[in-house]
Symmetry: none
Subunit: 242 residues, 2 copies
């Protein structure tokens, strides 16, 4: 019984500085404060901030690398890795133009956008909401003079910012991969709607606004609904061009 007490005490014992650093970095990554692709604080910075020897900092950082959460490069900075990247390998090429495939992509995207918006509404910083608002305004102002490709990129950026604001490592990671991988498919959707209607439907602009408003009010359910509907709207546009 004395042993049990002792073990309970061990649960209470304060974290060592090394453990604090480990927990801090993992928290930063998992919570989305450090987004995949962003750099981590340098080891020497961490030495100062956590009052540790660099050898100890290195052991923590090295473990993160072995866990696949970050990558280090001799001479360069340590970079937060996309945790999904190692698991996802989409081997098929050339399917970006396939309509059925594009429809599938939109299905997945509807779910993803919904989740991203949901968490973004809950967890986005005020700064991030401002950034999203600014990006949204820019999209409208410049919408006249843009090519379809630029439109697609702007659309991508808008949704990427929302995903990053979710502070959810899985959503951020997956959306990064997703968008990069299937940009062509998304671009194809915009192109088809342009061909069919001669211009981009007003619905898209309106939906973007509804999404932003829900985010601004931090109405998570509404944000999820709007984001999901937006994608499904685009999906239906796509299907109707068939």
């Amino acid at each position: 019984m004395g042993e049990e007490l002792a073990s309970k005490e061990s649960l209470i014992t304060v974290l060592t500085k090394k453990q604090q650093l480990d927990r801090f970095l993992r928290q930063e990554i998992v919570s989305g404060s450090i987004i995949p692709g962003q750099v981590l604080p340098s080891q020497r910075q961490l030495v100062d901030e956590f009052s540790l020897a660099r050898s100890s900092v290195r052991e923590v950082v090295q473990q993160l690398e072995l866990d696949g959460l970050i990558s280090t490069a001799h001479g360069g900075r340590s970079i937060c890795q996309n945790v999904m990247a190692q698991y996802i390998d989409m081997p098929v090429e050339g399917v970006g133009d396939n309509l059925a495939f594009q429809l599938q992509v939109m299905e997945a995207r509807a779910f993803l956008e919904g989740e991203a918006a949901y968490f973004a509404a809950l967890r986005a910083t005020d700064q991030q909401l401002e950034d999203i608002a600014r990006e949204f305004e820019r999209m409208q102002v410049r919408s006249k003079g843009l090519t379809t490709l630029d439109k697609a990129k702007a659309d991508l950026r808008f949704h990427t910012m929302i995903a990053e604001s979710s502070h959810h490592v899985l959503i951020t990671s997956f959306s990064q991969l997703f968008y990069n991988r299937y940009f062509n498919a998304i671009y194809g959707v915009l192109n088809r709607t342009l061909i069919k209607f001669g211009r981009y439907p007003d619905g898209i602009r309106m939906q973007h606004e509804l999404i932003y408003q829900a985010l601004h009010k931090r109405d998570a359910e509404q944000a999820k609904k709007m984001a999901s509907e937006h994608v499904l709207y685009t999906r239906n546009l796509l299907e109707s061009t068939d």
Copy 2:
């Protein structure tokens, strides 16, 4: 997969001393040169033998610990901690022989095998399909002279290869844990069928072949069906021994 990359690298670049030490220690453990419970060379010994700084030795040793291969104790020696033992030994004694438990295991396995086969049909590399074919042939050729235990291991290996071919992290991870943890239960199934019928029923061999054929044709639905049926067949055999 990681092994392939690592071995390819080793053909090109010379191993660093750190990598040499890492490989040496893992080899000692995996090959059984260092038996579970035995002590590892002290870090200072390794410093001398491999002409490394102790900080570098520590980084290697620490990784082994985090991989669960060894345990370290402040002031004491580092001790080999073979991972296999912890999974193959059943946590609760006698539960491996419990029929109801075995039936439950088979239920779960039916689902798992189905999913694994489904994704394997879609995503296995040609190399992996060849490996599975070769393993399948070996199972048949040597089937006469094998003990029940060897049979169970071969069966396990066959299904493990399929799971790994699924390229699906959840399936792979779970099946690894699952198989290791409930190996005894699976072994019990084979043993019961042997006791009841005096030999292994032909159905199993045939079903294995059907699974492989579906994989070879990359017919995902068929593969899922065959794999699931195979396990349910074994499950029914088990139940009929009651």
